[in-house]
């Protein structure tokens, strides 16, 4: 609207539905799961709004029942990557020139569609293709993604309203331009919300996007594309190009129009992309913005004053929800002897109670690992611990991939604080515990800080304020998201902006204004109402 100054309302977080027995949402999700399982779908590439088939197929299977095929997807090749770049560039000018409030309206509509019509579809597809129980799907593919849309559109307005000061006879302005070129969004399997956020955050700011979803989560990603289309995202603004990482990445990163990457995934892949961009730096029309969130070796650190029951729940939820396949999942804990004697039996008893199995049985807390390769990777760490004289498996340690990729929630205890599973990211339902002497609190905090190259999330459990102050100080750079008496997972958009530094990423907090600022290139404009007409300054006048 040319004659209005619009305000995007201050958003609220989407309420989490309970899915308790007898609830409407429980009935709807069960129906949707049955509907999705009743057919095998074929998933095309979507380039410039058109469906493209390559005939080179990948498969979408249910991780907890891997004989069950949900769909087959066409994999992109070099030719289609070029088509996607061209389609994005073709859509660029019109999208960038669209009034910002119109773009915002599209993504606010996406939020409302996801909150209603698409909620059960996105949750059911996430449950089936990524093996999430209904609660984990609800907080991810529904609530968090709705929050991303609502908060990002609000922050977009905040960016556009930021303007410089002006003197009396001039008017200074800042135009927050979209970047010149396209953004390459590369999304992980473990959060449908991140899959939705990485292409849309730059798009909200007027950018065009090539989107490569994780090969193990193409199924739910395809339904996200349907949501975007119905919300009104124009053809070519987000181009959907699933395929092998390097097959997509190599030609995309070599394109002179690459203006940025928005990545969540592994540290080695992020390093590789960054190096490739560095090697190509002279080819690009503009310096690509590199935004990435990678791994974590997230910790729970315990002081002797901690509450044992709260700690017990935090370890169980923080380490084992979604089978530990969260970047933020707790995978190492430092516990003082005095707490361990009170905690050990309670913790092991709780873990033995956790039910594991199919997502359609709502009493299951644990479901399956995403695929065979990830299963093998986690198992190799468990086997390493079993064979080591420096480790003891206190609970769990079992695994079975005959029907689905199931691994028991596993607790390893080690007397070596630098043991392999204390240092390396496992990305599975495995936590390693190191017991320290009560009088070594400060020394062990330093150990925690120096053990891993990562710095994503971490938690301190303590009731003594001085202990909390000390932990906050010593662990200042050990985590981008630091929790006091809470588990290190479950960051909420608008409340705990998420991201870490060191090897964990560029810390450009997803779902926060600092992230959106990476997708604009400000232009400063000065208009002089009364331009000077004489080149001479007063100091030059004769006395």
């Amino acid at each position: 609207m040319p004659n209005s100054k619009l305000v995007v309302p201050i958003p609220e977080n989407e309420p989490i539905l309970s899915y308790s027995p007898g609830s409407k949402e429980r009935e709807l999700i069960k129906k949707k799961i049955a509907e999705l399982k009743s057919e095998v779908i074929e998933i095309p590439l979507i380039i410039g709004g058109k469906e493209v088939q390559t005939g080179n197929f990948g498969e979408c299977r249910i991780p907890h029942n891997h004989n069950y095929l949900l769909g087959q997807y066409h994999k992109v090749g070099e030719k289609e990557v070029k088509m996607a770049v061209n389609a994005a560039l073709k859509a660029q000018k019109k999208w960038a020139n669209m009034p910002w409030e119109e773009r915002v309206a599209i993504f606010r509509r996406a939020a409302e569609l996801l909150s209603t019509k698409y909620r059960s579809l996105l949750n059911a597809s996430t449950m089936l293709s990524q093996s999430k129980n209904v609660f984990q799907a609800e907080i991810d593919s529904a609530c968090e993604l709705i929050d991303f849309f609502r908060f990002n559109t609000h922050y977009a307005m905040k960016i556009y309203e930021r303007q410089p000061n002006s003197a009396k006879d001039i008017w200074n302005m800042t135009e927050s331009r979209p970047l010149e070129g396209f953004i390459f969004a590369v999304t992980p399997f473990n959060f449908t919300s991140i899959a939705g956020n990485l292409p849309t955050a730059p798009a909200i700011m007027g950018n065009v996007v090539l989107w490569k979803p994780a090969s193990s989560a193409v199924y739910s990603a395809y339904y996200l594309m349907q949501l975007f289309k119905e919300a009104g995202v124009p053809d070519g603004v987000i181009n959907f190009i699933p395929g092998s990482g390097a097959q997509v990445g190599d030609p995309v990163l070599a394109d002179p129009n690459l203006a940025g990457i928005h990545f969540t995934g592994s540290t080695p892949t992020f390093h590789s992309m960054w190096k490739t961009i560095g090697g190509n730096i002279e080819k690009y029309k503009t310096y690509p913005r590199i935004v990435g969130e990678t791994g974590g070796k997230d910790f729970i650190f315990v002081h002797p004053s901690a509450d044992v029951d709260a700690l017990n729940t935090a370890i169980v939820r923080g380490a084992f929800e979604y089978q530990g396949q969260k970047c933020s999942a707790a995978s190492r804990a430092y516990i003082p002897e005095s707490i361990w004697v009170k905690l050990k039996d309670k913790l092991l008893t709780t873990i033995r109670e956790l039910k594991m199995g199919d997502v359609e049985n709502f009493t299951n807390f644990i479901n399956a690992i995403i695929d065979k390769a990830a299963f093998n990777s986690i198992v190799s760490y468990i086997d390493y611990a079993k064979e080591s004289s420096e480790a003891e498996i206190l609970v769990g340690g079992g695994y079975d991939d005959s029907k689905g990729y199931f691994i028991e929630p596993t607790v390893i205890q080690t007397p070596n604080p630098k043991f392999k599973t204390m240092e390396e990211e496992i990305f599975g339902p495995v936590i390693t515990i190191y017991i320290y002497k009560d009088d070594k609190y400060e020394e062990t905090l330093h150990l925690c800080d120096e053990t891993s190259p990562f710095a994503l999330t971490g938690a301190i459990f303590a009731n003594e304020r001085e202990a909390i102050i000390k932990a906050k100080d010593i662990l200042r750079n050990a985590a981008g998201n630091f929790y006091i008496n809470d588990k290190p997972t479950g960051a909420v958009v608008g409340q705990q902006p998420f991201g870490g530094a060191r090897a964990s990423g560029t810390n450009d907090k997803a779902g926060d204004i600092v992230n959106l600022l990476r997708w604009v290139s400000p232009r400063t404009i000065k208009e002089n109402f009364i331009p000077p007409t004489d080149y001479k300054y007063p100091f030059m006048e004769e006395e």
């Binding site: 092998s244 390097a246 592994s266 892949t269 093998n376 190799s380």
Partner: protein, 75 residues
């Protein structure tokens, strides 16, 4: 000898076709799966980044092919 896995093949494709390769490569210190996903790039590129010489890459690849053939035969 015709190789099932050549050095220019992408790690993602190796793991999809021969998931057991992950175990072999992991024991050689070559981590192929991080954050639950295969790392990008070919076996040769990835081993090169880990400091393997060309000779070591060729030797490891031959061993990997033998390992896969045995595993396939046992299936």
């Amino acid at each position: 000898m015709k190789l099932l896995i050549t050095k220019d093949i992408w790690i993602e494709d190796v793991l999809r076709k021969y998931p057991e390769a992950q175990e072999f490569l992991s024991k050689k210190g070559i981590v192929c799966v991080v954050c639950g996903e295969p790392v990008w790039g070919s076996i040769e590129e990835h081993m090169g980044e880990k400091g393997f010489s060309q000779e070591e890459i060729d030797k490891t690849l031959l061993e990997l092919n033998e390992f896969i053939k045995t595993a396939e035969f046992e299936k």
